[in-house]
Subunit: 331 residues, 2 copies
C-alpha cells in the first residue's frame, strides 16, 4: 500500500480510502469496543458515565505550517482535547479525529500527522476509534475526546468552588505563550517553543484531583487569570492569588531577557497570568482535602464579587486568549 | 445580551463568551445529563453502548456561502452526522459542535447557524451538549453525534451482508446531486436544491432496520454504488442491483430535461447510482427478515468477487464522491 510505498504522492492522487487507511494508524491500537474505526460510527461498550468534548485546531489561527511540524499539529489537537477530559476528573480512553487538508498535501505529511495523532493518544492512554477525512483550502484537525467515569464518581465541574477552598495548579503556566514569543522572534527551537507546539497534558492528574476531593477543576487554555475567573464566576465566588506562590519556570526570565523586554519581571508575570494554551489543570480543594502530587497551591477562594480575581490583594483583570477576538496582547 | 440587541456586531467585536452563548441555544434544550454544555466537557449518564461519530463540513469543499444559508450549513452538518449514528441501528441523542468562522462574521449569522444546528438536532431527537468556537479564514463546522444502543442490541456494521440477503434503501437517491447541478446552473430554488443543502435523514429507520434483523447497514454519503460496493467488500460478497426496482424521483427526469442533458435517462441513472450526500440508509436483510416500512428492495447479495456490484447483470464501476480527490464527475 501507499503507506510503505510512495509517500510523495498527494492525497488528491491516492484517494480517500488510502488516506483514511494511513490516518487509521497501527492495527494493534484497536480496542475491544463492539465497533472500532472504519464503520459509519464507533460503538463503545457499557459505561457508568461518558465524558465527551470536541475542539478543533485551524491553520492560520492555531498554527502556521512554516512554524510547526505535521506530527506536532496532530499531537497538539489530541492533547488539548484530552486535557478537557482530564479536567472533568476522568481519564481519556478514546479519540475521534476529523482531518481536512488541501489536495496537494503529500502522503508523507499525512503519515506524520497520523503518527502525531496516534502517538499522543497512546501517551494519554487512549485509542483512536473513528475518523473523517475531507479536503479544504487550509488544514483543520477536529478532535473528539472521550473518557469514562467509574460508577458513582462525581465529575469535576467548574462551578463547585466554595469560600475557604485552596486554589492549586499543575505545571508552570506561561511556557506556551513565552515559547510563541520566541518562535515569532525567529528562535524556533527550545523547551518553551516545544511547549507551545504541543502542550504537555498531566495524564492522571484529573483523576487524582477527583479522588482527593477537589471541588472544581478546569484546564488552563485561555490563561490562568481568565480560567480562574471563569471558575470563580460559575461558582459565585472570588479568588485571591499570592504572587510568590506562583510556580514560575526559570526559563521564562531567560526568555524575557533574550527578547529584550523593557521590564522582564512584568513580562514574565504577564506570561504566567495571561498566557494561554499551557493546559495545566487548575483546581479548587476544600480545607479537608489533601492536595495531590503535582499540584501547587497558589491562592484561596473567598466570598466576594463572583469572578473577581486578585493578586496580592489587588484586583487584576484577565488578559489572555479570546477565541472570537484573538489575543488581547500580541497574537 | 447581544442575542436580542445587536446582531450586526461581529464575532471579533463581541468576544468568545457571547458567541458561545448564542451557539449554546435555548436553555430548554438542555438535558438531564450529569454535565451538559458549558463545562470543559459534557458528561453523559450510564449507557449499555455508546455510538459516536464525527464529521466536518468545510466552506469551499462542502458548501459555498453564496449558494447556501447559515441555517442550512448548521442543519446539514448535524444531519450528516446523525445519519451515521442511525446507520449503526441507533437513535441519535446528543450532538457536540465545533464552529470556526472568520472574525467579521456577524452575530446574526452566528444566530442563524445556531438555529440550524439546534433545529436539526431537535428534529433528530437530540440535544446539543457541547461546543467549541474559534476563528478561521473560512467557515468550518465539525459535529460529533452520539447515540445509544439498548442493552444487548447488536450494532449494524457494514460487514455483515451474506449471500441471499436483499439489498434495500430508504429515500430516493440522486436528489442531492441533481439539486447541486441545478444550483450550479443558476437555479437556486426547488425541492432537489434543498435536498442538496440539507439532506433529510430518515429518523427511526436505523432502529427499524435493526429490529427487523438487518445484517448490515450504512448511509449513502458517497453514492449508492460506492457505498454498496463498500458494504460488499467489507462483507466479502457481491451485490446485484435491478434497475427497474430503483426508486427514482420523477423530479430527476425533469431536472435532466431542464439542464438540457443530451441523454436525460443516462443522466438520471448517473445521479441515482453515483450521486452522493443523499444520506438515505442502505441495508441488507436476510431472507427471514421483514423489510421495514420506508425501505425499498433494490437488489440482492450473492457470493462473488468481494465488492463487485452489477446492474441488471453487468458489472458497474462506482463513480461518486471521493473526499480526497473530489468528485469523479462534475464537482
Amino acid at each position: 500500500m501507499t503507506r510503505a510505498k510512495d509517500r510523495s504522492a498527494t492525497v488528491s492522487e491516492v484517494g480517500e480510502a488510502e488516506v483514511l487507511e494511513v490516518l487509521r494508524g497501527p492495527a494493534e491500537q484497536h480496542t475491544d469496543d463492539p465497533v472500532g474505526n472504519g464503520d459509519d460510527a464507533a460503538v463503545l461498550g457499557p459505561s457508568a458515565a461518558t465524558v465527551v468534548t470536541t475542539d478543533m485546531v485551524v491553520e492560520g489561527t492555531h498554527f502556521r505550517l512554516d512554524l510547526t511540524t505535521w506530527g506536532d499539529i496532530g499531537r497538539r489537537a489530541v492533547a488539548q482535547n484530552v486535557s478537557d477530559v482530564l479536567a472533568m476528573g476522568a481519564d481519556c480512553s478514546r479519540v475521534l479525529v476529523a482531518v481536512a487538508v488541501p489536495g496537494e498535501t503529500s502522503m508523507e505529511q499525512i503519515a506524520r500527522l497520523s503518527e502525531g495523532i496516534h502517538g499522543e493518544a497512546a501517551r494519554s492512554g487512549a485509542v483512536v476509534v473513528g475518523g473523517d477525512f475531507t479536503r479544504a483550502d487550509l488544514v483543520v484537525v477536529g478532535v473528539t475526546a472521550i473518557g469514562t467515569l467509574p460508577d458513582g464518581a462525581r465529575p469535576l465541574r467548574i462551578d463547585g468552588a466554595a469560600p475557604g477552598d485552596r486554589v492549586a495548579l499543575t505545571g508552570e503556566p506561561g511556557r506556551s505563550e513565552a515559547g510563541l514569543a520566541l518562535i515569532l522572534s525567529g528562535r524556533p527551537d527550545g523547551v518553551l517553543q516545544q511547549t507551545y507546539r504541543v502542550p504537555v497534558t498531566p495524564i492522571g492528574s484529573g483523576r487524582a484531583a477527583r479522588l482527593a476531593g477537589a471541588s472544581a477543576l478546569t484546564d488552563v487554555s485561555d490563561g490562568l487569570l481568565r480560567d480562574l475567573a471563569g471558575v470563580a464566576r460559575a461558582s459565585g465566588v472570588a479568588a485571591d492569588l499570592v504572587r510568590r506562590d506562583l510556580p514560575v519556570d526559570p526559563l521564562l526570565a531567560e526568555a524575557a531577557a533574550v527578547l529584550g523586554a523593557p521590564d522582564p519581571g512584568a513580562r514574565v508575570l504577564e506570561w504566567v497570568l495571561d498566557g494561554g494554551e499551557d493546559h495545566g489543570l487548575l483546581g479548587t480543594f476544600p480545607p479537608s482535602a489533601t492536595i495531590p502530587p503535582g499540584f501547587t497551591v497558589i491562592g484561596r477562594i473567598r466570598a466576594g464579587e463572583p469572578g473577581e480575581v486578585t493578586l496580592d490583594g489587588r484586583p487584576r483583570v484577565p488578559g489572555g486568549w479570546d477565541s472570537a477576538r484573538g489575543a488581547s496582547a500580541m497574537r
